[in-house]
């Protein structure tokens, strides 16, 4: 097991989820676009985490990510710059924000009066557009971080 290889594997899965989300959005399949957008965000966060430690089996790894950012802010900020650190914190926030949509996009939800709604009746184009936007920037952040980590590691060899 090599940590930078693990990160690359996660990143490949994140990229695949992003491609799938784009395809489903273009096909106007809103629940599918939201589901795969969420998975892209999740895998993007886990790609960053995988540089440091094992990601948990959880659709919301934001707490882990924030923990790592907090523990390593002194080392990382001079290397990555404030803008990248801001992007990483945003990744954590958006990972948390989109996590609950995994269940909604898969199983639907219910109204306060108990009426059951299918995902396809609940999720709109606006929801899918939002999820896709989160996925695009989450993947970009993770890609940039993992690439920076890789380069720093090669520089040490």
């Amino acid at each position: 097991m090599e940590n930078h290889v693990e990160a690359q594997v996660r990143l490949r899965d994140a990229e695949n989820e992003l491609r799938t989300a784009r395809t489903l959005f273009a096909a106007q399949s809103w629940p599918g676009a939201v589901l795969h957008g969420q998975l892209c965000v999740e895998q993007s966060a886990k790609a960053v985490i995988a540089c440091f430690e094992n990601p948990q089996h959880d659709h919301d790894p934001s707490r882990e990510l924030f923990g790592l950012l907090s523990e390593n802010v002194t080392e990382m900020t001079p290397r990555l710059g404030e803008e990248m650190m801001t992007h990483l914190r945003r990744l954590g926030i958006e990972t948390n924000r989109i996590a609950r949509w995994h269940g909604i996009a898969t199983y639907g939800d219910q109204l306060p009066d108990g009426t059951r709604l299918a995902a396809v009746d609940l999720i709109s184009e606006a929801d899918a557009r939002w999820a896709l936007a989160l996925a695009e920037r989450s993947f970009a952040t993770a890609r940039d971080f993992v690439e920076a980590w890789r380069k720093a590691g090669e520089g040490e060899r």
């Binding site: 097991m1 090599e2 094992n54 080392e75």
Partner: protein
């Protein structure tokens, strides 16, 4: 007229699921476990966050020759078909994670470290527990540390982390067949 029990009440009446009870149910399968090199319990049943919504997570390790007879996904189905009925009285889903001995030896992902350090083996032909120890030793040699994030075990880089730090966890080949 038959009295109807609400789903909530049925849930409350569900049999308590404990590590020891699951262990007993697995061992009661006897010869059916023969295809496994080892069977263990992992996940939340071993932790304090096990709750009414939690699944039962099982680890199955197989020797490479037997594992190679089917696709990995087919082995997951095989073991699920064996374990789910045996554990059905707990009214929980059962997750089967299947590894080959060779896959464990390769330490092919971070999670292998968590499995090696945390799994409770309930059936072991004798090779898996020592392999788990070798994996843990390899992780320590690589400079990794085990700690807790909340209730979860985490294996990771020892602080202070150097940005870009690379680690490689390798189990030495003992020449034994997998």
């Amino acid at each position: 007229m038959e009295a109807r029990i609400s789903p909530a009440k049925a849930k409350r009446q569900r049999e308590e699921c404990t590590l020891e009870k699951v262990r007993a149910d697995i061992l009661a399968l006897g010869p059916a476990l023969e295809k496994a090199e080892a069977v263990g319990i992992i996940g939340s049943l071993l932790r304090e966050d096990f709750n009414e919504h939690s699944d039962i997570d099982l680890l199955i390790v197989m020797d490479d020759e037997t594992f190679g007879q089917r696709r990995g996904v087919d082995w997951v189905g095989y073991w699920y078909d064996l374990f789910y009925p045996a554990l059905a009285h707990f009214q929980r889903d059962v997750n089967c994670i299947v590894y080959s001995m060779g896959g464990l030896k390769k330490v092919n992902n971070w999670y292998v470290l968590v499995v090696a350090s945390d799994a409770v083996l309930v059936h072991d032909k004798g090779r898996v527990a020592p392999l788990f120890q070798r994996i843990i030793d390899a992780a320590h040699r690589a400079g990794l540390v085990k700690r807790k994030r909340g209730v979860h075990t985490v294996w990771g880089l020892a602080p202070p982390v150097k940005f870009g730090q690379r680690v490689k966890v390798e189990v030495e080949d003992d020449g034994e067949p997998c």
